[in-house]
Amino acid sequence: MNRRDSLKAIGLGTITTGLLLGGCKPGDKTTTETADTKAGAVPGRQPYEVERENKLKADKYFDEHEMATITVLADIIIPKDAHSGSASDAKVPEFIEFIVKDIPSHKLPMRGGLKWLDMQCLNRYGNTFIKCNNTQKTEILDQIAYPYKAKAEMQQGVAFFNRMRDLTASGFWSSEMGTKDIGYAGNAPNKWTGVPADVLKQYGMENVKI
């Protein structure tokens, strides 16, 4: 079976000069794979995976205040700009709520880190983090967002913020919005013919052969 026939076989039409016609592109499909409650009903999924995922989705870990704090922090880490929306536009807080249940080693450091942040703010400014003004928020975050210059007594905050930043990045860039923004051009049937000529030239790699 040649490439054209193999793509037809999975309902993907054909390809011309490396461009996909009729295939999936970011934006074509917005559905999230929903786990069926009937065990074994999802192709390529084991019944236990389906059951586990349904249970995680039904459970709730963070309370309202925690979720509100996560949302504010996520949008400070990845705000809206000229290219794309903010972390919360890409539903990063919802992703974080799911992933800490999925990977329980995130649970305690996230809960404790949020509490640590609120206690710091309460002591300094008399308010929880989300009730602080922007100047206060910036002041406290600047002490935990730069690990290489943070003071020793702020290490708990540094560890929390590193984790929060990583989870925000995971959630944002793997979303449809983030994937489009970063410019990932793959996940589409094509014929790989090597590095484009202009790129080879840009890096002086025209004569490097394997």
Binding site: Q46, G186, N187, G194, V195, I210
Partner: protein, 578 residues
């Protein structure tokens, strides 16, 4: 379950095969196509990549964005299983950290493997350093089967005329990606040879095969291919064998033991049906084990009888011994010169595009044998973990304004940094020869531990020695040099505190050697046809018969040996010997 009873099948098959991966799949394919009535028992579920693969799904179609929570290689990876299976434990002796990966599904681990398809060389079969026992067969014995496997399944690569890295019958290879050209430059400066990778992916349509589609370069072989554009035992061997009408597969059949008669010959196997938890027995004239090096050894050791008091095929006592997995150690970094790079689709194939075969002379080194290097990097689909550890990257290079800033941060500047670093990463991993040793072994747990089916479990005893640790140190030093030569920014080298990044045995998932072949029945369990010395109608076709693995990944050799054994069985049947 008060009515527990053993359900005995009245059907007598010509052959029963335990396992449906590379070994079992190939044996089933050859025998079914020759008209033999074959029953195949698979411990896991039915799996057809055409319907069950997660190919071409986006990260956001997974609630965990592709994280490896329930599947070690990510949520879209094809493997049903992992290093830990609920209800199927194994135990460790004396602080051993052996990790045993099992994929419970039709096709086994071939559904998700890296498709890196390497032949072992003449010295891998007959080592000249005297350190390990020679195989009872030579490269010349296996070469015709490697050739047939190449033609039957398809492999890309380039003819290189390297004696230790025999060439095959190759489809055109994929072109290198940009990062790989940088790697080539850096490695060459370090004296490390880089050649085109060798992978079982159909970069062009496979001649004379109407069932398999050509690769369309999504780079997702690990998810299994819906058009059968790469090698999985499910799509390329078992499903075609079912279509002959001569192969029947029973899935969710967890084999307990091989049944033997009073003369010690195999008469069939018993298994637990995982769906009804009942016990079944099936009869066959010939029994073939292809359940994996660990699982086949476990079945033999659990098959005790008056004729085989130490377990079946184990009068030598070697079953379970000489267990060895490839060594593995890795390193990575990023290339600042690739920041802000142009975007285009460089997914390529899901196996390696480039590869370094072992290039040095051991006489000048403090470890025996060698390792190869696999490389990666580039603009992948963002998924869980993307952008992780940015605080260690964005402070290491000047920003758009030419000024360095503090690593970490937040806001529009940070958001821009993620874009700037996209596709700059490179990684490399060594895979090397671990020496087969009698004192690295698996055995039936002596403390009576059983799995949820009541089957006694394996206990592992495995220690790395200085041979492997020194090899890992050499890998790390080589990686540092290559990364340095490329102008990469990278972390400090893994040191003695981690055994130089040497992975725990089992982590590379190349475990072999537990039912080794040999000419001497006192020192081996199988003869040169992978036929048990003690039981002539019993064969083993997975990686268990390996005497000593080279630094080459095991699958292509499993396929060649299984095909060779299946053809031998056909000949012996004609002579009425089995």
């Amino acid at each position: 379950m008060e009515d527990l009873q053993i359900k005995k099948s009245t059907t007598a098959y010509d052959v029963v095969i335990v396992g449906s991966g590379a070994g079992g799949g190939m044996a089933g394919y050859v025998l079914a196509n020759a008209g033999i009535k074959v029953l195949m028992l698979e411990a896991g579920a039915y799996f057809d990549p055409k319907t069950d693969s997660h190919q071409l799904k986006w990260a956001w179609e997974s609630a965990r964005r592709g994280a490896g929570t329930t599947r070690p290689f990510g949520d879209f990876d094809a493997a049903y299983g992992g290093w830990e299976l609920e209800g199927e434990p194994y135990t460790q002796k004396d602080g051993t950290e052996f990790a045993w990966f099992r994929a419970r599904m039709l096709g086994g681990r071939t559904n998700h493997w890296g498709r890196i398809s390497l032949r072992m060389g003449p010295e891998d079969f007959k080592p000249k350093d005297g350190l390990t026992d020679p195989w009872p067969i030579t490269y010349a014995d296996v070469k015709p089967y490697y050739d047939k496997v190449d033609r039957l399944i398809g492999i890309y690569g380039t003819v290189e005329n390297i004696e230790s890295e025999p060439d095959g019958i190759f489809l055109p290879p994929p072109k290198p990606r940009l990062n790989e050209l940088f790697i080539k430059q850096g490695a060459s400066k370090a004296g490390v040879k880089v050649i085109t990778g060798r992978g079982s992916v159909l970069t062009e349509a496979l001649p004379n095969n109407k069932d398999r589609g050509a690769c369309f370069f999504c780079g997702q072989c690990g998810r299994a291919c819906k058009v059968y554009g790469d090698f999985s035992a499910s799509s390329c061997l078992v499903i075609p064998a079912i279509k002959t009408g001569n192969l029947k597969v029973i899935t969710n059949a967890m084999v307990r033991e091989v049944i033997t008669d009073k003369n010690g010959l195999a008469t069939g196997v018993s298994y637990v049906n995982k769906d009804d938890m009942q016990e079944y027995q099936v009869n066959a004239k010939t029994v073939i084990l292809g359940a994996s090096a660990g699982e086949s050894a476990r079945i033999l050791l659990n098959s005790k009888s008056a004729a085989h008091p130490g377990g079946l095929a184990n009068s030598s006592g070697v079953v379970g011994k000489y267990l060895h997995d490839s060594t593995g150690s890795g390193a990575g970094g990023f290339l600042p010169q690739l920041m802000d790079r142009k975007r285009y689709n460089e997914d390529g194939v899901g196996s390696v595009h480039i590869y370094s075969p072992w290039w040095l002379d051991n006489k000048k080194l403090n470890f025996p044998r060698g390792y190869h290097i696999e490389y990666g990097g580039g603009m992948h689909m963002p998924s869980y973990g993307f952008g992780g550890g940015i605080q260690d990257m964005n402070g290491a290079v000047p920003g758009r304004d030419g000024k360095k800033k503090d690593g970490g941060g937040y806001g529009v500047g940070l958001k821009d940094d993620y874009r700037r670093f996209y596709g700059t990463q490179v990684g490399m991993a060594g895979r090397g020869t671990a020496i087969a040793r009698a004192d690295n072994y698996c055995e039936i747990d002596p403390n009576g531990v059983v799995d949820k089916y009541g089957i006694p479990v394996l206990r592992f005893n495995y220690k790395w020695t200085n041979d492997e640790i020194n090899q890992a140190k050499h890998m790390q030093e080589t990686f540092q040099e290559i990364l340095h030569n490329m102008g990469a920014i990278y972390g400090t080298m893994q040191g003695p505190e981690t055994n130089y990044g040497l992975e725990a045995p089992g982590k590379i998932i190349h475990e072999v050697g537990t039912i080794r072949m040999g000419d001497d029945p006192k020192k081996s369990a199988l003869n040169k046809w992978c036929q048990a010395h003690d039981c002539k109608n019993l064969f083993v076709v997975d990686a268990a018969p390996f005497v000593q693995q080279g630094d080459k990944n095991a699958t292509w050799t499993i396929l060649a040996l299984s095909m060779r054994t299946a053809e031998y069985i056909l000949q012996e049947r004609k002579k009425l010997n089995v």
